[in-house]
């Protein structure tokens, strides 16, 4: 309740200050009494800060009251309502005459100096012709292509440490699953989404090229199996496996990759 009272005082003072209201609308003496009454109750730092802010705002209002009085006493005081009434009653032509009587327009001379002219001539002489300035830059056209891992590494889309971490993680998973028998390649690679599956196949290819795993092909059933290796590079041979969306859907529908 008391804090709300402080907030009200601050808000009142701020609106007088910002909206140009009559500062005598604020009963400063009464507001100061309120602050004095509540001061012994404040214990928390936030309460004391709020009290200080209210006090500061009231002192600003006192300054505004001083300025207001000074202005009224020295020069311009005319009742604003009277001025407003006059402004409403006067014809536009008479209002224009009032302004003209109080108006002393600024005088300015715009003149080109010999020095500025010389600068302009120098600029003109060194300026290349328009046809040279607007000549279009020749751009080499390149057809769309694919980004390799080495390029991804070069462009810092992926770091070597991150790549190695993922490969290590895959190798751990492969070792765990190979304890209970042969690991089907598709079962290992296929995931919930096509994107995740392609990414996993990419890392598996890296794992194989680093000699951490190898592929075994069953020539009769044409099934492909993955087997972990002890970090020794396998004999150089390449096994192309087409990883199309259709193939992923087919393998997914056959239940591959549901085991995690």
């Amino acid at each position: 309740m008391a804090l709300a009272e402080l907030m009200r005082i601050i808000s009142l003072c701020q609106s007088v200050r910002l909206k140009g209201l009559d500062p005598f609308e604020v009963d400063v003496r009464r507001k100061l009494e309120v602050l004095r009454r509540y001061l012994p109750k404040w214990k928390a730092i936030d309460e004391l800060l709020l009290d200080a802010e209210a006090f500061n705002e009231l002192s600003t209002v006192i300054k505004l009251q001083g300025d207001w009085l000074k202005r009224q006493a020295t020069m311009l005081y005319v009742d604003p309502e009277l001025v407003e009434a006059k402004l409403k009653l006067l014809e536009p032509v008479e209002l224009a005459r009032c302004l003209l009587a109080a108006w002393r327009p600024l005088m300015a001379l715009e003149q080109v100096t010999p020095q500025r002219l010389q600068e302009a001539i120098d600029y003109w002489n060194t300026l290349p012709p328009l046809r040279e300035r607007v000549r279009l830059e020749e751009v080499a056209e390149t057809s769309p292509g694919t980004v390799s891992f080495s390029e991804l590494l070069r462009f810092k889309f992926i770091s070597t440490a991150e790549l190695q971490g993922r490969i290590e993680e895959l190798r751990r998973q492969l070792e765990e699953r190979s304890r209970s028998g042969k690991v089907d390649y598709w079962d290992f690679v296929v995931q919930d989404t096509y994107e995740k599956s392609v990414e996993r196949a990419y890392y598996v290819a890296f794992m194989i090229s680093q000699g951490l795993a190898t592929l075994e092909l069953d020539p009769l059933s044409e099934e492909v199996y993955l087997r972990p290796l002890e970090g020794k590079a396998a004999a150089a041979s390449s096994v192309p496996i087409a990883f199309t969306y259709e193939r992923w859907r087919e393998r997914r529908s056959r239940g591959h990759g549901r085991g995690g």
Partner: protein, 155 residues
């Protein structure tokens, strides 16, 4: 000014004023604060701006030749007189309301914006209007209010 004319720059300005007066011109000093100090201090003068202005007011014909229309002059008179009478700042909505009594709504907003662009009025984030730097340099606020209050009203 001190940098260009030396420490006696105030005397130089006074001498210049005398010469300019002979040509029908004058020097107007605009101080940083809204109120013109009775006896300006050295610091106030150093921060002030000095403008060459006409010594005598313009005639209606001269104003028209400078591109001012009568309704524009009247709108500026209303806006400034209202601002001066309310201690230097008023909400824009209040000035618009006052102007709409005599001028079409579409013209009021546009003209006020033009006065702001030309430096005669200034508007802050709270949509309060003040006299701009150009009004402070060119318009004698006391004289404007005296003119408005002194005009006879035909009822």
């Amino acid at each position: 000014m001190r940098k260009c004319l030396g420490k006696d720059y105030v005397k130089v300005i006074e001498l210049t004023r005398r010469h300019l007066n002979e040509l029908g011109l004058d020097i107007k000093v605009v101080y940083e604060q809204a109120e013109e100090p009775m006896k300006p201090t050295e610091e106030q003068l150093e921060r002030a701006r000095f403008y060459v202005v006409a010594k005598e007011p313009m005639t209606a014909t001269e104003a028209q030749l400078s591109g001012w229309r009568v309704d524009e002059l009247a709108m500026l008179a209303v806006a400034l007189a209202h601002i001066y009478s309310k201690h230097g700042k008023v909400p824009r909505a209040e000035v618009e309301q006052l102007l709409k009594e005599k001028f079409p709504e579409w013209a009021v907003g546009m003209t006020l914006d033009r006065f702001i662009r030309r430096g005669y009025l200034m508007q802050d984030e709270q949509d309060m209007l003040y006299a701009g730097w150009k009004a402070r340099a060119e318009i004698d606020s006391r004289l404007l209010l005296r003119q408005v209050m002194g005009k006879e009203v035909r009822l």
